[in-house]
């Protein structure tokens, strides 16, 4: 050892790396001439040429020093136990190593150059395992330790964390992995979640996203969905409390839908796509777990609807001439946007015979009259989901989306006299004060049009909305995915 030098070094190696094996003679040279600590990631008996190597099978040293490649030779600061890692050489390059150490004729009997191998710290899944182990204080949530024989899946049920379906147990490693999906700090508060109005951190969103089955790449979308749900105009608290059916419906637009492989095609409103299924579910779990909103508690729905497990889809934006929902709402085609609608079931609009836009629009309008009740006007908003074949009929007839909207508006104007209680032998109806008015089925901005579905089938759909709409209830809200 060269005691005149105040400089010290650390070398990180693994036996499974051929380059590390190749440079064994170099390691021996350096060990004799430098103040050197050798850390080995896999086999504490390696390298055999020296004694006093340090077992780093825990990868603690490698992790804290951001080792990406082995071998890595680090120049450590004197009088400091924490190497800065600022100065290092990676892989084997004789010229570089000689310059770095000031020692000549290093490894003169071996090849002068050989690239290194990946550090074990970067094995798939390992960064998050190590982060959970060595940066545990990153995660602030209470830890729930299970008894040895407790079944982890059942434990989630027993603690009331599930919507009824199994959840993915939110272990620290999984949550750490989820948080890698965003640059946002785990401690950032994104808002207060009703009904308990407790602050919700990015970390809590990540935990529930894990439970819902999300991949880390979905997290920015989930965060946008939660932020949208917390906008005052959406009225999440009232939506949760209502005896009516409704619950958040999530529509995603823009490039993010392709990045995370969402489904806007065949069975778009149904099951089978992980992103569709889990992003919608994550919001529901957050309202349940963070907000404390549970059926029979604050959630007082008479019947509810199956979309309360999850209701999330993306729009078919394959036709560049047809504006998307997000564009209707003032965003650009290139923006990734989530829009939330307080809606409930899916009602089909079957029309296999219309070949003109005029006929099809009348079909749509007639079906839209039944939203909430055929004689209730200006109450519930709705989304009309136009299927690709119906869009084709509209386009071949030269109609734009704007023209369709206008036609529906015109078609749905109705004299109040037709909507009075008792008319058609139905006691339900509009209040007397509307008798002499001309009413529209939907309030201004109450009818939204999106496109989705498979290319075969002249079946569009109506997603009817909560009867408390507009200023007195919920309005569609949008949020950009960051």
């Amino acid at each position: 050892m060269n005691s005149t030098s105040s400089q010290s070094y650390a070398l990180v190696v693994k036996k499974a790396c051929p380059t590390c094996e190749l440079i064994e003679p170099v390691i021996a040279q350096l060990f004799n001439q430098l103040q050197l600590e050798v850390y080995v990631q896999d086999d504490p008996a390696f390298p055999a040429c020296i004694e006093n190597k340090i077992d780093d099978r825990s990868l603690e040293f490698s992790y804290h020093n951001d080792i990406e490649i082995v071998p890595t030779l680090i120049r450590t600061q004197p009088d400091s136990t924490e190497p800065t890692g600022a100065e290092r050489v990676v892989g084997w390059n004789r010229e570089e190593w000689e310059k770095f150490t000031g020692i000549e004729s290093l490894g003169s009997n071996i090849d002068p150059f050989k690239p290194g191998c990946g550090s074990l710290t970067l094995e798939p899944g390992m960064p998050e395992i190590l982060a959970a182990r060595f940066k545990a204080d990153t995660l602030k949530s209470r830890r729930v330790d299970l008894a040895g024989a407790e079944d982890i899946m059942e434990a989630c049920y027993e603690r009331g964390w599930s919507d009824g379906l199994p959840v993915v147990p939110p272990t620290p490693v999984r949550v750490m992995r989820m948080l890698a999906g965003t640059d946002r700090s785990p401690t950032e508060i994104i808002g207060k979640v009703p009904p308990d109005y407790v602050e919700c951190s990015v970390e809590k969103v990540a935990i529930n996203a894990v439970m819902a089955g999300c991949k880390p790449e979905y997290l920015p979308t989930v965060l946008a969905v939660v932020e949208a749900a917390l906008q005052d105009a959406f009225c999440m608290h009232g939506l949760l409390c209502t005896t009516y059916f409704s619950s958040p419906v999530v529509i995603v637009n823009g490039p993010v839908t392709r990045h995370i492989d969402m489904n806007s095609g065949i069975n778009a409103l149904g099951q089978g796509n992980r992103a569709n299924a889990t992003i919608g579910r994550a919001l529901q779990l957050i309202v349940r777990n963070v907000g404390g909103g549970k059926p029979g508690g604050i959630d007082r729905a008479t019947l509810g609807n199956p979309g309360k497990y999850t209701f999330c889809f993306s729009e078919d934006e394959s036709d560049p001439q047809w504006p998307s929902l997000a564009m209707d709402r003032g965003y650009q085609r290139g923006d990734s946007v989530v829009s939330l609608f307080a809606g409930d079931g899916v009602q089909p609009v079957l029309d296999q015979l219309s070949r003109t836009p005029e006929s099809l629009a009348r079909s749509f309008a007639a079906s839209l009259r039944s939203v909430a009740h055929v004689k209730k006007f200006g109450m519930a908003d709705a989304i009309l989901v136009v299927c690709p074949e119906h869009r084709r009929v509209l386009k071949e007839g030269g109609w734009t989306k704007e023209k369709l909207k206008q036609a529906l508006f015109d078609e749905l104007m109705t004299p109040g006299t037709e909507l009075m209680p008792g008319v058609d032998g139905i006691a339900e109806g509009m209040p007397e004060k509307f008798k002499d008015k001309l009413l529209n089925k939907f309030r201004d901005d109450g009818l939204h049009i999106v496109t989705a579905g498979g290319t075969a089938g002249m079946f569009s759909a109506i997603i009817s909305g909560w009867v408390a709409s507009g200023d007195k209830g919920s309005q569609m809200v949008s949020q950009v995915v960051k």
Binding site: T171, L285, V290
Partner: protein
């Protein structure tokens, strides 16, 4: 077996331990199940408990386990939870 740890997905307003069911506010008008675990003299003891409960206005339903040595069968648990607002289990002779 390895200990498992999860992160709490809730707002952490409640203790992490399992929660007690809500307590009855009054016995009057409620149905109380008496579960005899089938140890000797259980009947005499529970007869007395039943008459005192009835004096307080409770309706009493009687159940018994097939054997005290085993946990109650699932069907019995379901029956009691469907028919009763509360249950008292006789634990020893």
């Amino acid at each position: 077996m390895q200990n498992q740890t999860m992160l709490d997905p809730t707002s952490e307003l409640s203790p992490v331990e399992r929660q007690l069911n809500p307590r009855l506010e009054s016995l009057a008008g409620s149905t109380v199940g008496l579960l005899d675990i089938s140890k000797p003299r259980g009947k005499e003891f529970l007869d007395e408990v039943a008459s005192q409960l009835q004096e307080l206005g409770a309706k009493v339903k009687r159940y018994s386990k097939p054997t005290f040595a085993r946990v109650a069968p699932l069907e019995l648990n379901q029956l009691i939870s469907n028919e009763c607002d509360a249950v008292i289990e006789g634990l020893a002779d």
